[in-house]
Each structure stands twice: as C-alpha cells, then as structure tokens.
Subunit: 192 residues, 2 copies
DNA sequence: GTCTATACAAAGATAGAC
DNA sequence: GTCTATCTTTGTATAGAC
C-alpha cells in the first residue's frame, strides 16, 4: 500500500468529482480529505486543477475498465446479467449522492482535454465489454452495439438513481433489460 | 411571446445548467444572456441561486414532459422507435456541449430540494411514457419497467455523446435497442 | 420594477521559508 | 518535498438611487 501524498490527492479528487462535479470540486476539499498542504497541489500538479481533474478521471477510468475486464467471456444473456450484477453496487452508491467521476468530467468543457479523457475512458470500457462478447463468438458489429448500450444504461442509471435517492430505477431497468436480451438471444442459457 | 425579464432569466439559466451544471452556472452568465441587471435576480428570485436553479429545472422538466406526451399511444415497438426519433435531436445537442438540465440538478446536492425537483421531473417523464404503453394495451408493470429503461437510455446517451462529441454512441444504442424490442414484442408492427 | 455600486466569502494560483 | 502565508479573481448577496 503506497499511499503517497500524490496518490491520496488523486483519490480524494475522484471522490470529490463523483459527489460535486468539476466546478463543485474545490482544492480545499481535496486537501482536507488527503491531509496535504496547500502548496503541494501545484508541486504535484503544475497544471493546476485541470491536471488534477484529468489525472483523477483517467485513474478512475482505468479502475472501472479493470473491473469490466474481470467479466467472463460469455454469450449476451450471461454477459448482461453479470454486467448488471457487477455494477449494481456502484449505482447504489450513486443513489446515495455519489456518481461517475468520468461522466462528471464531461460537464463544463472549459478545456477540451477533459472531454477527451472521458471519451478515452468510455471507449476503453466499450471495447472491453465488446471483447467479452466476441470472445464468446458474437458478431463484432452486434457486440459493439450491445456494449455501447450497456454502457449507456450504466450512465443513465447513475443519473436516475442519484435523482431518486434509491436503487429502484436501476432494478426496474435491469429487469426489463434482462427480459429483452433473454428473448433476443434465446439460444444462450436461460437462467442464472 | 411574453419574454418578460423573469422568463428570459429562467431560459438563460436552463441553457447555463445544460452546459455548465449547477456549480458552474454563474449569475454573471445568466445576466449577460438575459440582458437583466444584477439586482433583478433577487427581485424575481428571493431565494437566490437555489430558487433560480430549481425554477429552471422544473420548467425544463415540464417542457420535456410535454414533448413526450405528444408521442402516440402505441405498442412497445412503435413507441420505442418514435421515442428514439424524438430524442435524437436533443442528444445531438448534447454531443455539442449541451446536456440535460434536470440531470445537472442532481449533482452537488447541497440542497436536497434540488434533488427532489429532478426526481419529480423524471417521475413525470416515466409516467407519461408508461401511459402511452398502457393506453395501447401493455401490462402496467411491463410498461413501467420499459418506460424507466427508455429514460435510462436517454440520460446515458446524453453523457456518452457529450463525452464523444458525436451522436454515434446514440445511434449504436438505438440500433441495438430497436433490434431488442422488435424481437421481444414481435406481435407488434415490424417497422418500416 | 429596474439599474448601479458594493460588501463579503470562496476559489484558484503563487511566493518563499523550512 | 512540504508547509504557511498571501495575492487575485470570481461569485453570491445586499443596499439604495431612480
């Protein structure tokens, strides 16, 4: 467990981004949470807030990609079910005021670089999901479309559940999505 | 066309919320865009920023609900197709830096009231969509789940397309969603 | 109702001692 | 590398003339 000052600042920034967004994230909050001193921020991140935010979003993007890569190579039915099970706890955190740090970076595009960071992260997630499908024999084009749809559902669930303050919208969506994919890809395993 | 000062301020606030979010929306931007004077803001909105933001989000929520209510009462296949066609131009605007003003209000929950405004708007959208389905004979529970799923897809598409700077993620998702719902509800019209 | 001017707080960014 | 202190800008909020 490294836990250098720089690491703690990045983790604190990820947390602040999830809860407050880019404009709402203040250095004061990051410094308090990480225990760092005020001047340390420009020592580790000469680019200031933009650099810290970009670094935090990129790290969070990698963390999520790694978790998605742990999903099994499986047919669409199994993959959708395991994807929904994997992200449910994350969305539950959104219902309690958190959110997706990468999505947060897409707001307030003062710097186009931040948007690029988010686009890169989302692309890596989509590619990772699509690979799990093609590894199981799915058509590449179909796999890409389905992977994008799953990512869309994840991001939308963050928004709806944060608004509702409950996980219920996610559960309703998961029920419908599971039902749809089961009927569409009936050749796959039917149950859990 | 009324166009009172108050109206223009609300419209300017909606625009600022879409692009910058709550924390990123400044009075200066709203006043510049609406042509109002600095003091006017507390004259029309004694509650300050919180009241202006809540009013703007509620108005935008009503505007969207009205557009959703214009959708035909139809079976799931037709409804999904017409829903996607209706929202595509809106998502295209997100790809260019805009976004959903109601979703923006769910970030930075300094005041729980704002979260409630968003939850109320989203509920009204879901109810409106579900009504179009039940009016066409769909099972109420199924209609509610499908309506929530459509709304989830819409919000997710805003996020992905803003990050990508393109409408492409929406089109990929729309293709997959249309395919899924056509196979699931094959009894309905098959499409063009 | 509308405008100008200003008070007050918070944020980002720097300088320089240690 | 780390800390304290401070500058500058921005933003919210208010006061008061017209």
């Amino acid at each position: 467990m490294a836990a250098t000052t720089r690491d703690r600042m990045i983790d604190a920034a990820i947390d602040a981004l999830q809860k407050k967004g880019v404009a709402g994230m203040s250095f004061t909050a990051v410094l308090d949470a990480s225990g760092a001193a005020r001047g340390a921020i420009y020592h580790h991140f000469p680019g200031g807030k933009a650099e810290l935010v970009a670094t935090a979003a990129a790290r969070n993007g990698d963390q999520v990609r790694e978790r998605l890569a742990a999903l099994p190579a499986a047919d669409p039915v199994i993959l959708v079910e395991s994807f929904l099970a994997l992200v449910r706890p994350v969305v539950a955190a959104s219902a309690d005021g958190a959110g997706c740090a990468v999505a947060a970076v897409t707001v307030d595009p003062d710097s186009g670089d931040l948007r690029t960071v988010a686009a890169t992260a989302f692309d890596s997630w989509t590619t990772t999901l699509a690979e799990r499908l093609t590894a199981a024999g799915a058509d590449p084009a179909t796999a890409a479309d389905l992977a994008t749809t799953l990512l869309t559902l994840l991001q939308g669930a963050h928004v709806l559940c944060r608004a509702a303050g409950e996980i219920e919208p996610f559960d309703r969506m998961a029920r419908a999505a599971t039902d749809l994919v089961r009927h569409r890809f009936a050749s796959g395993a039917q149950g859990r």
